[in-house]
């Protein structure tokens, strides 16, 4: 008991020291000619496979802007933190960046869980987060710039495309967490509305490796196409076991919402060949700006493919810099207002701009995976699509006004 009390006193003094530390102004490498921004991604743990490359693309944009003179005459100095694939760590590091490092904005996050964990921190301590990954929508905060696709910019265009192709009967398969559940909720509403059929709906725990029962259920349901929101390693098991059961993508097509060029490379293109994916950027989209972006990235990281979340991470930095220039200040309130009123620009992923609801107006694409690990573009939306955070069919009456 005595020991325990001593330990408590000891911890108490550590906490006091930590408080003191945070009260002392950050050791200012932030001399008047630099400005600090936070870069917060998982550099370790299960999400590192995806997030490290987004961090790289973010840093590339910062380097390029610095090389051409910085913003408002200041060099951008990134403070890189590791969210360690743990939502509570994201929240903790976000607070550290805002309070201790005094950053003017933060680029980061991947999983919806990490975003949900950071949101209260950014609301409470007045920060601005640039979030680069497609997500389930149904959220609207003035403290986050959502550049990743809203549901109506990725999953619904994919559904439109599938229906145009004559796929009427759709099987929904996902990992068991917030994004697949919400995405499928929206998909179900729209499939019913368009008088298609939901052949089945199945969820497998994140990281699950046995798909034998799911594959049997797919066989019973006889869908024309599978819409997959499986995430991570589960994809390897799923595609391997589908092929072993005699159902490769060529026989029963799969549309994936979480497999981009990086994942295709990790899983092995031969296993995924012929499957479809929907994104707002493929490395293979045409355009001189995209060529420059890909060349610059691969000059720094040879042999690494470029994909949608990386392009968003890259675009976010440029959009922030443009907004700062327009506002003439680093003040968060003015920067986010300026960011939502910028004109269209293209730094790689085609013409994009932020709408007044702080989500990105962007083009939707459907691609098919080639053996090279690149996607062949099969379809694209007629011009950029306006972002709709609250799907009117699934969440009637909710709107996002900021």
């Amino acid at each position: 008991m005595e020991k325990f009390r001593a330990a408590r006193r000891f911890c108490g003094s550590i906490a006091a020291a930590a408080l003191l530390c945070s009260a002392v102004p950050a050791p200012s490498g932030a001399a008047s000619d630099t400005v600090m921004v936070g870069v917060l991604h998982s550099l370790t743990g299960t999400m590192a496979i995806s997030e490290v490359t987004v961090k790289n693309a973010t840093l590339l944009a910062i380097d390029q802007i610095n090389a051409s003179g910085g913003v408002l005459g200041k060099k951008i100095e990134p403070v890189i933190e590791d969210g360690a694939s743990d939502p509570s760590m994201f929240a903790q590091k976000a607070q550290k960046l805002i309070q201790q490092d005094d950053v003017v904005t933060v680029f980061g996050g991947w999983t919806s869980a990490s975003r949900k964990a950071m949101l209260p921190v950014f609301e409470r301590f007045k920060g601005l987060l640039w979030y680069p990954v497609q997500f389930e929508g149904n959220e609207c905060s003035p403290d986050i710039m959502y550049s990743g696709a809203q549901p109506n910019q990725q999953i619904l265009p994919a559904l439109d495309w599938a229906e145009q192709k004559g796929y009427k009967s759709i099987f929904l398969l996902g990992s068991d967490y917030v994004f697949p559940r919400t995405a499928n909720l929206i998909l179900k509403k729209h499939i019913e509305h368009d008088s298609g059929t939901v052949a089945g709906e199945e969820y497998v725990p994140l990281g699950g490796t046995d798909f034998s029962a799911v594959i049997n259920k797919i066989k019973v349901a006889k869908p024309q196409i599978i819409f997959s929101t499986l995430n991570g390693d589960s994809n390897v098991s799923f595609f391997k076991q589908m092929a072993a059961a005699g159902l490769p993508s060529s026989k029963l097509p799969v549309m994936s919402f979480s497999i981009a060029e990086q994942e295709a490379k990790a899983i092995g293109p031969s296993l995924l060949e012929g499957s479809y994916a929907a994104w707002n950027y493929f490395q293979s989209i045409p355009g001189a700006e995209n060529k420059k972006f890909v060349a610059a990235y691969q000059a720094k990281y040879p042999g690494s493919p470029v994909d949608d979340p990386m392009a968003h991470g890259y675009v976010d930095v440029y959009a922030w810099a443009a907004a700062v220039k327009k506002a003439g200040t680093f003040d968060i309130e003015k920067v986010r207002k300026a960011a939502a009123t910028l004109a269209y620009s293209d730094v790689g992923m085609g013409e994009t701009k932020f709408a007044t609801n702080q989500s990105l107006v962007q083009t939707a694409y459907v691609g098919q995976l080639l053996p090279s690990g690149q996607f062949k573009i099969l379809w694209q939306s007629k011009g950029p699509v306006q972002p709709v955070p609250y799907d009117p069919l699934s969440f009637p009456g909710k709107t996002c006004v900021l």
Partner: protein, 303 residues
Amino acid sequence: MSESTLVLGQLFNGISVASILLLAALGLALSFGLMRVINMAHGEMVMVGGYLSYMSIQAFGQGPGFFVGLVVAFICTALFGALMEATLIRRLYGRPLDTLLATWGVSLILQQAARSIFGPTGVEVTAPAWLSGSLALGGTALTGFAVPAVRLFIIVLAALVLGGMTLILSKTKLGLLVRAVHQNRAMAEALGANTRLVDLAVFSLGTGIAGLAGAALALMAPVTPTVGQSYIVYAFLVVIVGGLGSLTGTLFAALLVGIFSAVTQIFTSVSVADVLLLVSVIVFLQFRPRGIVFARSRALEET
């Protein structure tokens, strides 16, 4: 595929899942069941087996590489197990909780080593051409009842390993010594059995089987630094439900767990089936705390 073939298909899947569980659990049945060592690094032996299979395929090509991989995985992980036993486990006998901590440390070291050597993304092991098809029994792959060749192969392999272990335990000198040490360690020692050597052999046989399992399971699941974690819980589950110290029990437990989860998945989702499985295991252990088959052993009664 109709509803009735779904039931048939799920029964086959149950047996297939049971064979996977059996492969993952047999090694544990040896080290945990016979030696009372809680080997948390058992899952990592499965992982190492997967990477060895990958390297063999890189070195010897698709067809022969896979079989070389099975052998290499067995031998290398058995040697690693021997090393672990001689340097670490040996010092911790009779302290199951300490073995848990120490082997957990080994498991973390192995995971990080795999991450440093092969990267966090995992590697690809593809089945040789003749294993990649499926045998359709009536109708096409989409409509009929098809049996994937890989799953058949794993069922056969699990049966062979189980048969081999039964033979070793019941017919060989080593098996006699293992049974003697298991029944009464002090008496066996007094009668001249070299228990240290027996422990070494049993533990490394256990890790070797885990490695072999890893090389085979790589055909169906990813090979990543953390893949071992997805097997370890179910492997312990099977060993405990089966009853410590009994291979027959392990076999029945694997079948029970595999078929139970496959059949419940006809009605529910994977997640709910998992919950039902764990609940029924807890209930089962209330009534039979020593598992399906209770092997009488002084070693077990003392602890």
